[in-house]
Structures are given as structure tokens and as C-alpha cells.
């Protein structure tokens, strides 16, 4: 008896409901934990882990440290060149693989988050503007259709080649390519968000609370920020997670095709690409970056799946 009364008295917040539903989705919950772990380890890992990802040993150290196998190789091959100091081994010029994975992860995830933020901003801007202002709807949606009809991967490849030099001069070689890739991915992935947001805004505009807000003279800016945006937040959050996954994959694909970051500034895709030539002898150098990309994207996709369920009030509470 006390249980029932207590639960009725407890104030329920909408986001608490969402969290409960999200937690009950096993894949999403573990996906979120895994993604947080990845972020934490690429942020804190380089501080704890003693090796410098860019340090190339010289002299006798070079021979001693290069082409080291991961520590687990010793399990089946007692003659393998392994060392506890380099748990995932080293590459052909003696750089520590784990240190490179950690710093590569920083870049990959930073690109994913930044590109997702840009594409969400553009998509929401276009979607809300098109849905809210009838005069702009036609032209903005034609623009969206045009972008959807462009062959994006070839154009991104061309654009990387065109603007790499210019941006490297302004932001430095690493900063330039970072800005370039984030902008390119952001500018080529906003269309789905824009379409979904526009549809939702069009539906919202017919609701009574919008009419009420308009009747008390709410200006357009406040209307959008106070009444429209909070109500289209759930589709935006779902596309955010899918956007991260897409951006990480696109960045790795670019690096894999040789159009991404420079070789001394590794990302997971670049590490994978560099390791392909030696994958017969050293399969682990392909395996670890590939697994890192795949599991990160998998976890983000599961988070998106769970969020979609959690944010949908028709499913929630079932």
C-alpha cells in the first residue's frame, strides 16, 4: 500500500522517464557506458600512458623497438618480439601502437563530435526556417533536394584536395585538415535532420499552444526558441547520435582513401590505412584500429536506437 502512494507522490520529471526507458534498453545502456569509456580513455589515457605517439627512436633503440608484436602474441609464439612496456606492440619505425591508438581516437572522436554539431546546427536551422516561414519553405527544400542528389563522397574527395593547401597555410597542417574535414562532413550530412525537423515543425505549427503563444503576441524569435525548438528536441537528439556514427565512419573512410589526416597525425582510419601494407605479417595493426572504429560506431548506433525508443512517448512506459 505504501509503495503505491509513495510512487504517486514522487514528482516525475519527463527526463527521468526518458532515462528509465533508456536504461531498460540493454544495448543502449551498455553502448552509452562503452562510449563514455572510450571518450574517457582517449582523453585521460595519453596523460597516464608513458609513451609519446610521435616519438621515433633512433640508433640502436630503433632496431630494438621497431616491429614489436602485441604482448598476447607470446601466448602462442614464444619467440615473438614482445615487451610489457609496449602492450600493443610498435610499428615499423618504433612508435608505440597503443599511444597512437589513444591519440588517434582523440582526433577521430573530436571530428565525429564537431562534424555532428555542425551538421545538427545546419539541419536544425534549415529545418526550422523552412517549416516556420512559409515563404522560405520552397527554396530551402529544393536546396535540400539538390544536396541529396549530389554525389557526396566524390565531391568530398575533390574538395579535400582543393582546399587542403589553403587551409593548411592558415591553420597549420593538422588544424587545417581538421577544420576542412569537419566542415565538409558537416556540410554534406545535414539534409536528413533538416527534413525531419521541418516535418515536425509543420505539424507543431497547427497545435493550439502555438496559436495561444501567437495570440499573446510572442515574437518569432522567442516563438522558435521557447516553443518550437524544445518540442523538436527528440528527433534532433536521435539524429545527433546517428550523425556521430556517420561522421566517424566518413572520416575514417577519407583517411583510408589517403585523403584525410597526414601520416604523422594519426586517426583510427589513418592507422588502419597505414597498416594494410603489412597486414599479412602484422594483422594486429589492422585489427585494433578497425575494432576501435567499429565498436565505437556500434555503441553510438545502439545509443541512437535506445534514445529513439526512450524519447517516443508512445513506446515509453511499456
Amino acid at each position: 500500500m505504501t509503495d503505491a502512494t509513495l510512487s504517486r507522490e514522487k514528482p516525475r520529471n519527463q527526463w527521468l522517464d526518458v532515462w528509465d526507458q533508456f536504461r531498460s534498453h540493454g544495448g543502449a545502456f551498455w553502448g552509452a557506458i562503452f562510449f563514455l569509456l572510450v571518450i574517457l580513455s582517449v582523453l585521460l589515457g595519453p596523460l597516464i600512458y608513458p609513451h609519446d605517439p610521435t616519438l621515433v627512436p633512433t640508433g640502436r633503440d630503433f632496431i630494438r623497438l621497431k616491429d614489436m608484436r602485441p604482448i598476447y602474441t607470446a601466448l602462442w609464439d614464444s619467440g615473438a618480439k614482445v615487451s610489457w612496456a609496449h602492450p600493443l606492440g610498435t610499428d615499423q619505425i618504433g612508435r608505440d601502437t597503443l599511444a597512437r591508438m589513444l591519440s588517434g581516437g582523440q582526433v577521430s572522436i573530436a571530428v565525429g563530435l564537431a562534424a555532428m554539431a555542425l551538421s545538427l546546427f545546419l539541419g536544425t536551422l534549415v529545418g526550422v526556417t523552412a517549416g516556420y516561414f512559409k515563404r522560405l519553405d520552397g527554396i530551402l527544400m529544393r536546396l535540400t533536394d539538390l544536396f541529396l542528389a549530389l554525389p557526396l563522397l566524390p565531391l568530398i574527395l575533390v574538395a579535400v584536395l582543393l582546399f587542403r593547401e589553403v587551409l593548411s597555410a592558415t591553420f597549420g597542417p593538422e588544424g587545417g585538415i581538421f577544420v576542412l574535414i569537419v566542415v565538409l562532413i558537416g556540410f554534406t550530412s545535414w539534409m536528413q535532420t533538416a527534413r525531419i525537423v521541418r516535418g515536425d515543425v509543420l505539424a507543431l505549427k497547427e497545435r493550439e499552444f502555438i496559436l495561444a503563444a501567437r495570440s499573446i503576441g510572442t515574437p518569432n524569435r522567442r516563438m522558435i526558441l521557447r516553443h518550437i525548438l524544445p518540442n523538436v528536441l527528440s528527433p534532433i537528439m536521435v539524429s545527433a547520435t546517428l550523425g556521430i556514427a556517420q561522421a566517424i565512419i566518413t572520416e575514417s573512410a577519407l583517411s583510408f582513401l589517403g585523403f584525410g589526416f597526414p601520416p604523422d597525425f594519426p586517426t583510427w582510419g589513418r592507422l588502419l590505412f597505414d597498416a594494410i601494407d603489412r597486414m599479412v605479417l602484422y594483422p594486429e595493426r589492422v585489427l585494433w584500429p578497425g575494432l576501435a572504429i567499429s565498436f565505437t560506431v556500434l555503441s553510438v548506433n545502439y545509443i541512437g536506437d535506445g534514445l529513439r525508443d526512450a524519447l517516443d512517448p508512445r513506446i515509453r512506459g511499456r
Partner: protein, 335 residues
Amino acid sequence: MLTFTIRRLMISVPTLLLISLVIFLLLELAPGDPMAQVPLTVPPEVKQKMREALGLGEPIPIRYVKWLVQFFWIEPLHLIDQMIGTGFAEDKLRVVSWQSRSPVMDIVYERLPQTLWVVGMSYVVGVLIALPIGIYSAYKQYSVFDQAGTFVSMIGFSVPPFFSGVLMIVIFSVSLGWFPSIYDTTHEVTDWASFKKQINQMFLPVMVLALQTTAQISRFMRASMLDNLNQDYVRTARAKGLGEAVVVMLHVVRNSMIPVVTVIALGVPGIFGGAIITEQVFKVNGIGQLLITSIQGNDLPTVQTLTFIFAILIVLFNLVADILYGILDPRIRYD
């Protein structure tokens, strides 16, 4: 339906023109100079003349129109010439690659069969695997099979082809040695043994691309089946005593296929984009690989032509999807 088709065709013309303009202007910014390979001893006047011979001296609008004429008029004429042996396009200037100095479309025709074999086959295989999976996992929703299907398609979404391809090579061609890791394009199918070899070398790239297709299409099929399974007409079909197989396979599947068919049509251009990466992994020299090498070699006419071919594919299959949807679902009437 006919008016709709014609109207839709009319809209795609300006869309294509706009896309061609976007591609043209973007490539106009390219820093690449076809004269970069010419020795420094060649005097600048001569270089200027060579540049004009390549059609580079003129202002942008004229070059754009000339390129359009070359692509939409001279190239189709040339294709007709080759097919029925006429001489319409004999002395007309075609789009010429800066790298190989041969007409771009000739190179494309050379490369296209490889891409179509690998990409087309993988799409067919992917769809054929995806449909039964989608049907069964919707019919037994939340069963073990359904959960496993969800997991596999999540993997298909998440594992990028450049990793799954490399992984397959490491496992199947390096460790086990079952399949070759490099696609041999010179191989010709003449008898049973060479046919088996062709299947053998196509297996890995086709499987890698098919995994992506399967993941997407089986999800769509499942969702579409779930929408239909609770409809009234299904209950009616069962109520009048039809067998379960007839109800599911005839009534539900046919209705569920309507959105799935359009998704399949819409996915075709995307799979060509994915082929760029897969061709790079398995060293297939198709058009995706041609695109990469010509971008690296600053071969603008080839890049322009290929990018535009991709754009045409996208617009074309959007059109196909729209029309198919109208034909398959008589409730949808656009006009």
C-alpha cells in the same frame, strides 16, 4: 501516371543542370594545372597555346556550355556511332582525359564491367539475403532469430567496409587461403573452371558490399512487414481460412514490398559510392578506383565526368523509385 512521369522527368532536367554547374564550378577552383608535367624549358607562349588546345583559355561560361555539349550531345552520338556504325561524331572533340589523353568515356566503358559485376552482383546477393531475413524476423518478432538479425544488421551498419574487407582478407585469403585477395580483371570466363575462378575471386568483395545492403534492406523489410501484419485485411484472410503460408507470403509480403522496392531502387547509387572504398580494398579496377586515381592525378575532365555520372545515377534512381511507388501502390496518385 504518364503525366506524372513526364512532369517528373521535366523536373530532373534542371536538377541535373544545376548539379552539373555545381560540380563544374567546384572543379573550376582546383589548383591543378595540366601543364605541371611539362618541362620548365618550354617557353610560356607555347604553354599558353597548349593550354588553349586543351580548351582552357576561354572564360568559364563558354567552357561550361562546351562541356555540356560534349557530355550530352557528342558522347551519346559517339555511343550511337559505335553501336550501329554511323559517323555522326567523327570529327567532334570528345571529353579527353589529361592523364591518358584518351576519351574519358572510353576509359569508363572499359572500367564499367568490373564495377557492375562486383557491385551489381553484391546488391542482388544482398537483397536476396535480406528479404527472407526481414520477413522471418518480422513474423517471429522478438524471437531469438529476430534478435540475432537485429544484431547482425547493427554490425552491418557499424563496421565500415574498409575494415570488414580487410578483416575478410586477413581471415579468408591470408590465414585460410580460400579466396584471392586481389581481383584479377584480366581473367576471362571461357569454361567451367574459369567460371569457378571468377566466382571465387568475386566472393569476398561481393560479401563485403552485400553485408551493408543486407543490414539496411532487412531492417526495412522487417519494419514494413510489422506495419502490415496487424492490418485488418490480414485478419480477414486468416478468418476466411487461408493457410498461414498463403497469408504471409502472398498477402502480407506483397503489400510490404511496396516501400521496400523503392528503398532498393534508392540504394543503387549509394552502393556505387560504397564501391569506391571496396574497390580500393580489393584492388578492383572499376570506376571507383578510376575516380581515386584521377583525383590524385589532378585529371579534372575524368573527375568531372565520373562525378557527374554518379549524379545522373542518383537522379535516375530517385525517378525510378518515385515511378515504381506510383505503379505498385494504386492509392498513391501524384497528379
